[in-house]
């Protein structure tokens, strides 16, 4: 059980994080190429806005903000799960071939299929991510998978996937390269409700499921022998946790392309804020991921108007200083 003071801090932290997300969302809804007064924003949300701004709010900005929150949270939780299983601070979903697999699948799809609809891309990407991680898992299987073998082979698989992507790009026509590179920079502009419909079930299902396994993750992070001694069914729960992580990251990558930094750093930021229990790390990471992506998207929209810079460019630019501050302030990690 948490000590009273600790519990109070935790509750305050969650209230604070919720407020930050809410405030950022409102700000994002109201500012942009056309700024909309907050009053009209509230009216739109309540469904009582008769102004022209209603369309901007409900059809352009709201889906985009929903996407930022969902994707940020999904990537952050995917990273937290992976760091727990792999027990390496440098682990992130990219290392398991999630991003690489998604990229190859999308590039191959765009190269070989003509007359495709852009709405297929998220599914293709998720499929690619799952295939790549399955290959990784199979290669790493030798009477069970050891986390280190998994990640070492994962690096190999991601590198091979990256090579394959480059290969397809340079052997294919030039216009394709521009299209694919655009997708790969990780952006959430042009998100509409149909993307959200693809995305939200993954997040709504897998984040709660991950929370249910938080205790298992705590046990695993103590090390293999301790976990086995405590009666953990190591291989099974490891596989389930990895699957959750890939599902979350794959869905996020499918919709937004590659967004770096969040999967790697949001869990570390969460750990610095709430300590080592995954029951807290998972939800706090989700909040931090959502906040970073909201801010990055906002910055991408506002800083270089009228250019709309992909959010993936700014995630590190915004997250890194904050992380450095925490690193600076804290004596221990």
């Amino acid at each position: 059980m948490l000590k009273p003071r600790r519990a109070k801090y935790t509750i305050l932290l969650f209230i604070g994080l919720t407020c930050v997300v809410a405030a950022l969302s409102l700000l994002s809804l109201s500012v942009g190429g056309v700024s909309v007064p907050l009053k009209e924003v509230f009216a739109s949300l309540a469904g009582r806005n008769r102004e022209a701004s209603n369309l901007i709010i409900m059809q352009f900005r709201l889906p985009r903000i929903a996407a930022a929150i969902l994707i940020g949270a999904a990537l952050a939780v995917a990273g937290a799960l992976l760091q727990g299983v792999i027990r390496n601070p440098l682990a992130s979903p990219d290392l398991l071939g999630v991003t690489g697999g998604a990229s190859v699948a999308v590039v191959a799809f765009m190269t070989f299929v003509t007359g495709y609809s852009i709405h297929w891309v998220p599914f293709i990407a998720i499929g690619g991510a799952l295939v790549a991680t399955t290959i990784n898992y199979v290669f790493a299987w030798k009477k069970g998978v050891s986390p280190f073998r998994l990640v070492l082979i994962g690096i190999g698989i991601s590198t091979a996937m990256g090579a394959l992507t480059t290969f397809l790009l340079i052997s294919g026509p030039a216009y394709l390269a521009a299209q694919v590179l655009n997708w790969m920079t990780g952006s959430i502009y042009g998100t509409n409700w149909s993307y959200i419909e693809v995305l939200w079930p993954w997040v709504a299902i897998f984040i709660p499921l991950s929370l249910l396994l938080a205790k298992e993750l705590n046990v695993q992070s103590l090390g293999e022998d301790v976990a086995r001694g405590l009666g953990s069914r190591l291989q099974l729960s490891r596989m389930i946790l990895l699957f959750y992580s890939v599902a979350l990251a794959g869905a996020a990558v499918g919709v937004a392309g590659t967004i770096s930094f969040i999967g790697l750093m949001a869990p570390h930021i969460a750990r610095m804020l709430v300590g080592n229990s995954y029951k807290l790390i998972i939800p706090v990471s989700a909040f931090i991921g959502a906040i970073i992506l909201l801010l990055a998207d906002l910055a991408g929209r506002m800083l270089f108007q009228p250019l709309d810079v992909p959010a993936g460019v700014f995630t590190a630019g915004i997250g890194a200083p904050f992380f450095m501050y925490l690193l600076f302030k804290r004596k221990k990690i």
Binding site: N88, I155, V309
Partner: protein
């Protein structure tokens, strides 16, 4: 098996490796779009006549092969030291922010000086960027008293991400003016000059010398801080020297050939599988294997696609990944 037999075998391995490297380098000089014989190479240096063939050999093939060999060796050794310094088998020189910092400085330099920035200016900028970033990362790693590998690793990963974020931001806003930055952002040994290698060669050599001299101390550091201290190891000194070696090696590599990933990460793993954990053997082996891998990859990159060369990173992956998977599967405790 007794020790002397083992070390004889390891020594023989080094000799075989060196011969293999020489053969690979020779193939890399002779084969490509234009094929040459040994005699052409000899004539190109003894009786240089300014013909196209001789120009290709002396200005293109030989520089490119030398750069590939030296950069491959440097990156691999830097990676091996990085992995023991951060106590993280997933670390590579790029975790120090070396690559990201170099590219960032080049982009800023192009923004400030435009086309008046010469190629050699860019080499120096890249080197300066690599050094500056790693100094910042090392300082951050020391924050809050005491050296913690995790702190260093995270600070480095964070700085690298931060630098690349700023780089892509700058490039996005000034698309046209930064075409030449793109050339630098894709690691390649092609189209680089021997002069640029010679500019950074002294630093590379110093870095390599420090690394080899440190081998014994690295062995002790690898056991763990407390044991190392009780064995009389001056940990801070060893760490600073290791960091210096990494910066010199990886910084001059990125200055000479742009960011080349993967080699610094995987070659140490391959070599630990071959010769074990003793750094006195590991470092020479990593240097050799790194050189062989990059030279071979560069050679292969000319033949994978009929019409054009593929980036050397693609070829490195094609050659390196199967070995990596094999080693990862064979290892008991990685």
């Amino acid at each position: 098996m007794n020790g002397s037999f083992l070390s004889k075998r390891k020594l023989a391995g080094l000799v075989v490796g060196s011969i293999l490297l020489l053969i690979c380098m020779l193939c890399s000089v002779l084969y490509g779009l234009h094929q040459f014989g040994l005699k052409d190479l000899w004539l190109a240096y003894s009786q240089f006549n300014g013909s196209n063939e001789h120009l290709i050999l002396t200005r293109v093939r030989v520089p490119r092969t030398l750069i590939a060999a030296l950069v491959g060796a440097s990156l691999a050794v830097a990676g091996a030291i990085m992995q023991v310094l951060t106590r993280n088998p997933l670390a590579s020189p790029s975790v120090f922010g070396v690559n990201a910092g170099a590219v960032l400085f080049i982009v800023i330099g192009l923004l400030a000086f435009g086309s008046s920035l010469t190629m050699s200016g860019m080499v120096w900028l890249a080197f300066a960027g690599a050094v500056a970033t790693s100094v910042v990362v090392y300082m951050l790693g020391l924050q809050g008293g005491g050296f913690e590998p995790v702190k260093l690793t995270l600070a480095g990963a964070c700085m690298a991400a931060f630098a690349s974020s700023i780089t892509s931001g700058i490039i996005l806003i000034n698309k046209q003016s930064l075409e030449s930055a793109l050339f630098w952002m894709i690691g390649s040994v092609e189209g680089r000059n021997l002069e640029h290698l010679l500019m950074v060669l002294p630093y590379m050599a110093i870095g390599m010398t420090i690394s080899l001299l440190l081998a014994g101390s690295l062995n002790i550091m690898a056991i763990g801080d407390d044991s190392a201290k009780s064995l009389g190891q001056r940990l801070t000194l060893v760490r600073v020297l290791s960091a210096t070696a990494i910066v010199l090696l990886a910084g001059s590599s990125v200055a000479a050939a742009g960011p080349i990933a993967f080699i610094g990460l995987i070659v140490p793993h391959l070599c630990r599988y071959i010769v074990g954990h003793d750094f006195r053997w590991l470092l020479p082996y990593t240097a050799l294997v790194g050189a062989i891998l990059l030279v071979t990859a560069d050679l292969a990159s000319r033949f994978i696609l009929e019409s054009k060369e593929v980036p050397v990173g693609v070829a490195t992956a094609i050659i390196g990944v199967p070995f990596l998977i094999h080693v990862a599967r064979r290892k008991q405790h990685a």
